[in-house]
Point group: D2
Chain length 375, copies 4
């Protein structure tokens, strides 16, 4: 359902949110559960190979899952033919939610790496262009002079803040059993939950969160905000790259099918498209009405939305990182584009005759942004 997704999302990230990645994560959830329960002495040590991918196939599981509504049940059915103790005391949602947490860790890590790379490019531009005069534009009209460095510093602060929102939104392991009480584990539930989270290297939840979805909603919000932070840079770059402005050029060729000479803002364009999709996916993830102990639908809608949000937030960051990394900045053009009327404001207030003399705290703000980033 995502035609030409290779155009929008880097390959490693596509792989990290793929059906195959989900399936691996589900197997890892089952492995960790068995390991934890074996450590607690509740079940025997699992024999080798029980949790191997083997010839398991997500497509076939999904098809089989039409009977029951989720792919964990068919998976467990297969694994139990390998070893009877698989999935002891757990419920389908334990597997799926934990798999989601693992997918988030892996794909979210890749998205964060793109955001870090994007932040580094912003920081580089902020540093390099501290003295590059450019017109500040408000409501798309020239206002007063500023620096391209300060512009990049504003981007930097937003990316750093958004990156933290994503990084802080770690999704915990899930283990609650059929009704959230871990009843099938008797009085060993809390202990096994701890060992399980430890096996997985995931945060231990306070209580099972089958139907209390703040962790998912928070992540969704963070990813959308990160994608939009990239899209903000994108819209600025696309505007600066306009034929009539021509203050930056994107590194990509961007030829059109009719006009081979035309140079388009490819990265900005694709980053903005990614952000629109991530924004929509977050709206799904931020729905909280999960009925009782397991939702009839709101939960199931998350799998795709989560994959979309991760992939598209990462895609937005990736494209802007690539774009800024190769961005050609025409400092002379920036300076030349500053209109006389843009300077008149300076004259009115400070008597400045040159834009360079009317930059106020621009440089100090760049320092502050860089300090935040280095922290």
């Amino acid at each position: 359902m995502a035609p030409f997704e290779a155009l929008f999302v880097p390959d490693a990230l596509r792989e990290a949110v793929s059906e195959r990645a989900w399936l691996r994560a589900m197997l890892e959830a089952e492995r960790a559960l068995a390991a934890a329960e074996a450590r607690a002495g509740v079940i025997p040590q699992p024999p080798p190979g029980v949790f191997a991918l083997g010839d398991l196939d997500g497509e076939a599981l999904a098809r089989d899952a039409r009977r029951v509504g989720n792919p964990a049940e068919p998976l467990v059915r297969v694994l139990r033919t390998r070893w009877e103790h698989v999935h002891h005391g757990a419920t389908s949602q334990d597997v799926m939610d934990t798999a989601a947490a693992l997918v988030v860790r892996e794909a979210g890590g890749l998205a964060i790496a793109e955001l870090d790379g994007l932040a580094a490019e912003c920081a580089r531009l902020a540093e390099e262009h501290r003295a590059t005069v450019i017109a500040a534009r408000t409501l798309l009209r020239q206002a007063v002079p500023t620096t391209f460095g300060l512009k990049a510093a504003g981007w930097l602060v937003a990316v750093v803040q958004a990156r933290e929102l994503v990084a802080d939104a770690r999704v915990p392991a899930q283990l609650g059993g059929a009704g959230g009480t871990l009843a099938a584990l008797g009085d060993r539930g809390v202990e096994i939950l701890r060992l399980y989270a430890e096996e997985l290297g995931l945060p231990e939840p306070v209580v099972p969160w089958h139907a209390d979805r703040v962790p998912i909603a928070r992540l969704g919000g963070g990813l959308a905000i990160a994608a939009e932070a990239a899209a903000k840079i994108a819209v600025d770059v696309a505007l600066l790259a306009q034929t009539e402005v021509a203050e930056v050029r994107e590194p990509h060729e961007g030829g059109s099918s009719t006009m081979p000479h035309k140079r388009n803002p490819v990265g900005s364009t694709l980053a903005r498209a990614c952000a629109a999709g991530a924004h929509a996916a977050a709206a799904v993830l931020m729905r909280g009405e999960h009925e009782h102990e397991r939702a009839a639908g709101a939960w199931h809608a998350e799998w795709k939305a989560l994959s979309d949000a991760l992939a598209l937030a990462g895609g937005a960051a990736w494209w802007m990182r690539e774009t800024l990394a190769g961005l050609e900045v025409d400092a002379e053009r920036m300076r030349a584009n500053v209109r006389p009327e843009t300077l008149s404001e300076a004259e009115r207030f400070g008597g400045a005759e040159r834009p360079e003399d009317y930059l106020g705290s621009a440089d100090a703000f760049v320092d502050r942004a860089l300090a935040l980033w280095r922290r």
Copy 2:
């Protein structure tokens, strides 16, 4: 980016919105263009095989498209090695938008077929259960008696109305050339546009609509509304299937991984999940801010959102069609569940002692709904 999508979307519909389907549609757009231009005498007759899929691969095109921002340019590049006259006077968006229109016709047709099937099931239930008394429930509390037939009649009207919204939202062919003027076709533009639409069997647009996206937005809205109409039925079925209500049972097993005896409302659950996704995809498709003659991002975001909206609206309708087709209706239980206090209202107004005597226009409304459907 859609793990386990086979669980949510019927196979034919998945295929109809796949990368491969888009690619075929792009080839058909190029074929139709060449045919139209040859008919107009602007270019020679294309030799056979120019527009064959051959070993073209969407993944490779998407990867190659990273240079330029859309997969039409790389496709044209390949096709021009086959025949020099390919894509004469057109722009990438002509190909992509026309491909979208073709995907919509094909996948939208499948979705409409599911909606038609769903309407037929609603109609059957409305007819069969005209006399089946059930408690009307407002704000989730019993109000007065109604019939299950009238309930199904309400669903029916909504599905029929939503189906019309989808069917009426036909996306036209697109042909505008680099700037929407068809300048490269000289004074033959309008004529070739007509032939092109004729070749494709698509509506002819009034003017090129590269950046005026009402057709896409309208379709997106219609698909979301259709998905939500299915989700309305789903929430009713899921509520009626509650353990404590038990007035209907879904045909699917719906066993859980822990409780093999448990019977879950699988179809309703998955339909609701589909609708949440379709609703979000529509939000992307309803964004209108496409800059100037071609948007830098808003357009590119449509391809995935369109595929998602089509697949998920169709998926929602499919699941509810299947669910209603096999729905076990427990008419006795419905009747028995009507509480005495639900009848007191009847007594207060009409002196009715049995719910059967207090059904007002229920039957007449069923007739009206069926008449609308038969039209």
Copy 3:
């Protein structure tokens, strides 16, 4: 909850979606019901003054409604002190939904009038600027020449199409009684429904649609699409009004608080803001999961969302109508801005040396758009 709403929405429209307007509409619904029932001989003729606004106050009703969850019940309680036969056989939602339909007719009519005015301005610009050469810009870069008339013609077609979506989305009267059966009206329900719709001048519904919300969703979608069609014009105007492009100027002063000389694209800015809000309101109106015979929440969320969508769609259209009405078009600048490389494309294809010679079907498309509009 809408600070400074006078800035965004014209006064008549604000009034038409106000609490007071809703209250009047609720009274009209009750009046029509009584009139219909009196005509049918089910109740006596109502005495004069029963349905007068008098000192009824929406704020007080809303506060009183906290007991019961909707403002119709407190209103009925007051009206019954005036006359015992008020609200006979109806339910709160009959009053509220019919009031919504009346608010939609009134406020929607105002919004449609703004859209008509906006279409007329687009048509005027399309006609006047058939020969005004401007650079077509794709992905924000100059592509080939086009005309400002064709640009306006594209806007026109979108506004006309969106206007139709709003106009076609007439919300019907609502009358179903406590459970949608009109049981309290015995066998007279269908007849009274007809008379009721006739009294109101509203479409007669096929069946009560208390929980089958396609009419509301369709309207919401239409309003959002209309607002976005206005926002599309807005983004184009704002881009053309950029300091570095300067091809149009908005009529409003748009001075800033610091830079009195600065001329901002005020109307475009506010239209875009309105559209963002209308888009969000539509997402609420397009939620279909209304449980059983009356939703516990999804219905109540509509009142505000409907008012918002109507006001903001109308506001977006209003601002763009005003903006285009006074738009200063600098045709010379448009012509001068066309870059040599924009012409090179023309040369490559058609040997044109002047942009005027490379406009293809632009003029023909303008004719087609005007013909659609005149229809």
Copy 4:
């Protein structure tokens, strides 16, 4: 544009997001700026009364603002008739964004207080009902026994986590001047920014954030998540209050206009409606594409969306706090509703014959939730 808003939002919160509250906050922003600049010796001490509300009127300002696109400019115009040094070196957005931060502090504080109250009610129920057996319901069907205390503990954790997201999303002061450089303040910008934030008691921003909107987006996300956490409780309460389940009753009368005896889940219903609106408002606040140094529209859309999100998140929490505070819990009915087949699962695993013997870690989880809350 919010008919009957008194029904949804508590009075103090309505006042805190009103036009009047915004106007007061704008005056406070101007006051703090003058005070900071006077402390820095850049302007003289302001005479008394300059920043008084007096007969200033938001409606009139909004109407006047149609000239310029925002209400800060007309306000400054009035204030400058009082004292010439008002607004020195600032821009309209400095005033509006700082006012937004103040509105957020005030109204957000009220919303947080409602969330705290809601958390306290959840905690009370968790504690009181540790031993109250209830059926856990997954996909709306009974699964295994749990306790109502654990159910409330799950709500509690979500509310506490969501409350933290809101509380952590403090919006900083804004001061950047016409272009974000504070150029009109020469080399005193950073110092005055510090004094300004100090005067206001607001966080000091790293750099001006006129077009880098992570603070607003983060808050919007937090508010939506908080509203949805309340809506999750609401849907559970509404489901438990169903006629056929009848395990809880809401405190409010909830009579209908036709059926005075009927008891509706009023609070749950209104909380769910609030959450739908808050979710939509957040979608506006999470849009990141603010062009250059000040957005042409995306910024202006925030004022209403922010007021809506604050009011509706607070409204959702308020209604659920009130609802839980007076909730009648029928523990006997909860116990009696547990079906034999729900126990069969228990028997299969642990040989339990009574639900009380099959509660696993329910009690331990309650303790963990309470510990989180007390922290």
